[in-house]
């Protein structure tokens, strides 16, 4: 590792101390500490490492992409409390993404993009910053551009209700790392879902304008909903080998929670068809790497600094 230091290790008092040490700084990313340091990342018996890694990328990319969208709210939310809440949710998801991408890399190094020799950029950052849109496996709900606050509330409600159910089951995974990441994520997502559910109710029962905006957000995002429950072959294989969860299997539980929110809010389920994939209704979708054009734009902003500095410093 080159002699780059970001700050004196015992100096937590000055936010600017890192700027004063020397001229070489980490350009981006998570520093060079392994988030799985000392964790046993042996792939369980009978599990295909590539399947496990791709499955982790799917769940990690969901979190990474939505984290980026929620991060766009920072300093733009309707009030300070909501600004902080959205940033907190984004940070939780970013943490989940980091662990999941690191677990993917540890399972199958072949999926980690190569960088110039000597680049100290860690595996999870390589996966976040050096893959193109078609290599991302997130569901398309995560990448839809932000609208107003009501649309964001709808998105967090849909996403966290689904992900909470997935991770709750995944906490029983045969892969101990995935199980641990999932168990921790459940605690975080519980707060996310409550936040979104309460705001959904508040906006639905608020003013005519707040209700109108909420329903518009729901109509905009509803076409992305059914995709969340369509299992990809990798998810099926991961579920069969006991490390993953088939998303079709959580649909009933998730819909029940959503109905609870809709009933309390006096909102009907939208009667809107699902958004087709790239080759029709049964064609490729987010899990296959086929995305809306919004993802490429999101990644351009997310990745531009890293791509310009593949050795990780400037």
């Amino acid at each position: 590792m080159p002699d780059v230091r970001t700050h004196e290790p015992d100096d937590h008092d000055s936010a600017y101390s890192g700027l004063l040490v020397n001229d070489a700084h980490w350009a981006f990313g998570t520093d060079f500490e392994d988030p799985l340091a000392g964790v046993d990342t042996t792939v369980p018996d009978g599990v295909d490492p590539a399947t496990l890694a791709t499955y982790c990328l799917m769940l990690g990319d969901d979190a990474l992409v939505l984290s980026q969208r929620l991060g766009e709210w920072c300093s733009n939310a309707p009030d300070l409390e909501e600004d902080i809440a959205l940033s907190n949710i984004a940070l939780d998801l970013l943490g989940q993404a980091r662990l999941l991408l690191a677990r993917a890399a540890a399972a199958d190094a072949a999926q980690v993009p190569a960088l110039p020799d000597g680049s100290p950029v860690p595996d999870e950052d390589r996966l976040a910053y050096f893959r193109d849109a078609q290599q991302f496996r997130n569901v398309r709900l995560a990448e839809v551009p932000n609208g107003d606050f009501a649309q964001t509330v709808v998105r967090i409600l849909l996403f966290s209700t689904w992900r909470l159910a997935l991770l709750d089951r995944l906490s029983q995974s045969r892969d101990a790392v995935l199980a641990a990441v999932a168990a921790k994520g459940v605690k975080e997502l519980t707060y996310h879902r409550d936040f979104a559910g309460r705001w959904f109710l508040t906006l639905a029962r608020g003013t005519e304008e707040s209700r109108r905006r909420l329903l518009a957000g729901l109509d905009e995002l509803w076409p992305y909903w059914s995709e969340l429950f369509e299992p990809h072959d990798v998810e099926r294989a991961a579920a069969l080998s006991g490390v993953g969860v088939d998303p079709a299997g959580v649909a009933a539980d998730v819909e029940a929670v959503l109905d609870q929110v809709f009933a309390a809010s006096g909102v009907d389920r939208p009667a809107l068809p699902p958004l087709a994939g790239s080759q029709g209704q049964t064609g490729h979708k987010g899990r296959d790497g086929d995305h809306t054009e919004a993802l490429a734009e999101l990644l351009a902003e997310l990745q531009v600094v890293a791509r310009a500095h593949p050795r990780g410093q400037w």
Binding site: P35, G38, I84, L99, A180, A183
Partner: protein, 174 residues
Amino acid sequence: MVTAALRRGTALERARDAASAVVDPELPMLTLADLGVLRDVAVGEDGAVVAAITPTYSGCPAMAAMRDDLVRELRAAGFADARVRVVLEPAWTTDWITPAGRAALAAAGISPPGPAPRRSGPVPLRLTPTRRAVRCPRCGSDDVVVGSEFGSTACKALYRCQACLEPFEHVKEI
């Protein structure tokens, strides 16, 4: 052999003492031991120390600072080879904050957490504000309202006291 084992026992005590004294970078009134994130300290036969920590939240940005501080304090205590490993399971819970840690939080004006929620079966959806037995750390009133379940760090909620009108933070139960 007996003396070697004894020596290692003393070394373990010294290592534990050094690691236990490290404070949380975001809640500096609490040691990592009081916060419950320091899960283990071990000394190998070669004298190397490995301290184990667990994140409070998945995205806790303080993990790197905790690791740096632990390594520095262990080195200062005479352990040239000091390492930090991550433990992910079981997940951290606020129930691990020690009584001393809770007292330190309260003394610093931060409301300590109540018991972490326990459940069997699916996670219940809560559409009404979370009810907690929280008192204002400044004036002691229980006439408080939650402003947001999310605060200045991942582990805290924002409250407001209706009696003395001061805002304060509450370490939320997980």
